[in-house]
Symmetry: D2
Subunit: 284 residues, 4 copies
């Protein structure tokens, strides 16, 4: 895996964007190792992603950025440049449930999830030992249900202290304050334990059992002010039957949750996701 | 495939039901080729299905029924006996869309779907030729949107005339009158083009596209008075992406719809489904 | 769906191909509505597909081709230009089994599969009525197992007469002569009823049952001289259990076969497939 | 989850087995909470599984066993009785790869996998810390490639010392000696990183990449003397594309491997698997 610069771009759709963007890259000798484009006909919006070999360019990422300046003006481009050699700082927030957290930690340690995990924040002590075994600082920040403000203030302080690029709610089970969601817009990733928009809200597996569905699911999405309404990144399902009780749904759902969360986070870490309105473009 | 008698049974849960039922069968020499049982702990209800080789018994299906009389009293059994040699009469109702209808007809002709199809009823003429090629009577019964009563009266008359055991709404696109639903309770099978309870109501693929889901689905269910709320028989999903527009969702959804409808109908035809409240037990 | 020209391109990998190709298109005002690229690091080969709005160009497809001439020389490009307004002529070959044929015909009639079907060739009479109901000529060409040459000669004659662009073996059950395969290289699509490379050869469902697998599959591939060894286009599977006998596997497998064949054919018709060696690049 | 006794039974197929077995249970007041049966028509063999509420019986598991003695003689029953309150002792063998091991440990700690794990044996030191964090003894037993006998002797000694009921090869990467396999017949569970019988042998992901398959898979099976030929317990697949390189297949495959291994092990722990010849009956 060579070092690459990644360019995410979106703008009103019009002729020539791919070519002009490619031309900026190529005239400087840039080697494009991946490129993907999408025109959304409903919103008349264009989305593009380029991955460029870093060592094929005569300058660094700022140089690349400068080269794009006039094009950005002309086509009203929203641009985002990232460097595959700069791992994102991912703060994980967890509660008592271990399946998503333990899964993420194993993927991180084995190198399958390329990021830094500067700390784990939890409202319970349960997972301290495991997290610390991985060499990651663990912060127990209780959230008092009668007054959540102090807990969330401390949470926000830690997120800033660790300079988080991304926050993962690994079955954190608390609703984050609106201000925090807005501040980290499209940077807070949640795993919801249902196939959204089915079973919004509390205890989705109980709802699923009551309705008698034959598949259960999980949804990875960006957190917005509207609970369970944020842009969906990925979803998946598992088959269940009449013989599965609520606790079976919970157990079977865990496999879906952890897989979907890891897939969604990976797409985010590789800068494969563009958000437009309440929908995502995820370039595979 | 030998001829079998099928026994569906449900009752309040209690000790000994499987054994007593088995004993009635076995003391008459009955060879049980399949048996499945389920205790629902929430409702404290018991469900069972037996398949018995017909030629192992010294009497026919009525004889078997008589043998069960005293047990039925004692355990308050709901019993249903069917004979694999008596194919159910399935009236298919269709509209302009051909995918489910054409799929069912092919399965029927190839012998994979063991039933009689005495007629197809449609509110459009489009599929007459295909249906008639299969040697099945086709009835065009328009449903006038300003006065649906005459159309539904004719529909009901045909259903009775053909002595339908089961009615399949193969993307029929009309809501049946409540009286008809009640009369054919748990005998009218619908395919809804969403993963219920997501996207209840009209134009689910449009709703799905707007919400930006990453999987679309279909749900086969018994029709009840509550639209889209009936007991779910089977569901499945297909993966979609940002590049799929509404017409792509419609197209991809067709594959799911026809597969799920055929699976659900097959379970019904083989008497594998018991309904309790708003949920199904489907013995595989 | 506007009319588009599609450009498939592959060549030894090197800097600037995407940009140069894009530049040829854009300098002529061409509006790229889809573009996808792939670099294969093992073979150091590059693959690309562009879809261009026809009415954005000042010339037709030959004009576009001419514009690419010098670039083709310089980069040793393999180029293929197609016009979405020119439907491919797909000759379907079938045998007694109806599921794939009937599925393709329904997709074709409903407009989901954009192609012409100039004729169906079968070594059995069984499906004549259905095919003719769809208004498609049906040719019964028996293949005598003691001397297959006359049957295949007639087959080849028909394929030429109808100027087939593509031949689909919809469970045709006969091995085509090597000369025909070579002549229509990467234009003959077969559906094999196993998850290749498992269960190569005859009666794969019997092999699967004997081995006790828990999933069965189907594989859509281009036909080459090596039976069951051609480049794979698409595959899928279905879950089975100990209770499924060989005839159940056959039945469950049909759903997979017809879905995978339709998906593979669709990718071919939309010019989404590039073959390199024995592998395919399928741009979604 | 109440305490239950589980009865696994298989025998030549004949009339009345289910009933007679049920009668033995019921005449002693036994409450059957689950029952499943299967007749294999090819081998004319019958399989059955009962789960009986322990506190509904006036005696313990030995008492139940005695009650079955005469029936066992009469019908040549193979019988196996287990007690849900006696967790199986599962020795896990691992190598450097952590994904299956870490997944199993998390499932075990959260209570989703009901068993004891008396120790983990590995030919590498890498996972010692994690295993010990879970409070489980870790034994590093190197297997020297020039003389494997001492390593395997020590392995066998440990397995005996810990009185293992079951051995899980969690990507152990070594072929166990034949004598050990025979001694723990149908008690050694392996996860093979391909969709068997595809890609038997070494480096299946490399084989899969070379063949250009569009799905990769994993297979959980009992280990027998014939490598990769043992009875299959469970399998699953994941979709891949031309853009996935071998290291992507390896990464995507890990999710399938760990899920399938956990599912297979769970079925084993709940005594849901009967082996006949080279095939399994897995009662869900």
């Amino acid at each position: 895996m060579n070092r690459t610069y990644r360019l995410l771009l979106d703008c009103p759709d019009q002729v020539g964007i791919v070519t002009h963007a490619g031309e900026v890259i190529t005239r400087n000798g840039g080697w494009i190792s991946e490129a993907a484009h999408h025109s959304d006909e409903d919103s008349n919006w264009f989305f593009s992603r380029f991955e460029i070999q870093a060592d094929s360019l005569p300058f660094g990422i700022e140089g690349l950025q400068e080269q794009f300046a006039s094009l950005a003006d002309r086509f009203q481009l929203n641009l985002k440049f990232t460097d595959s050699a700069v791992p994102k700082k991912v703060v994980i927030m967890a509660s008592k449930g271990s399946h998503c957290l333990s899964d993420l930690l194993d993927r991180w340690k084995s190198g399958d999830l390329k990021c830094d995990i500067p700390c784990v924040i939890s409202n319970h002590e349960d997972m301290r030992g495991l997290v610390e075994w991985y060499g990651i600082p663990f912060h127990h920040v209780p959230v008092n249900k009668d007054d959540k403000a102090p807990g969330f203030a401390e949470t926000e302080r830690l997120i800033e202290e660790y300079a988080a690029d991304c926050i993962v709610l690994a079955r954190y089970m608390q609703i984050l304050p609106q201000a925090l969601c807005e501040r980290y817009r499209h940077k807070v990733i949640n795993i919801h334990h249902s196939f959204l928009p089915s079973f919004i809200g509390a205890r989705p597996y109980h709802q699923a059992s009551r309705r008698g569905v034959k598949l259960i699911g999980a949804t990875c999405h960006y957190v917005t002010e509207q609970l369970d309404e944020g842009p969906i990144i990925d979803q998946d399902v598992a088959r269940v039957s009449h013989s599965d009780r609520v606790d079976d749904l919970v157990r079977l759902g865990k496999d879906v949750e952890k897989t979907v969360l890891a897939r969604g986070l990976r797409a985010h870490l590789e800068d494969r996701i563009l958000v437009h309105g309440n929908k995502t473009v995820v370039f595979s």
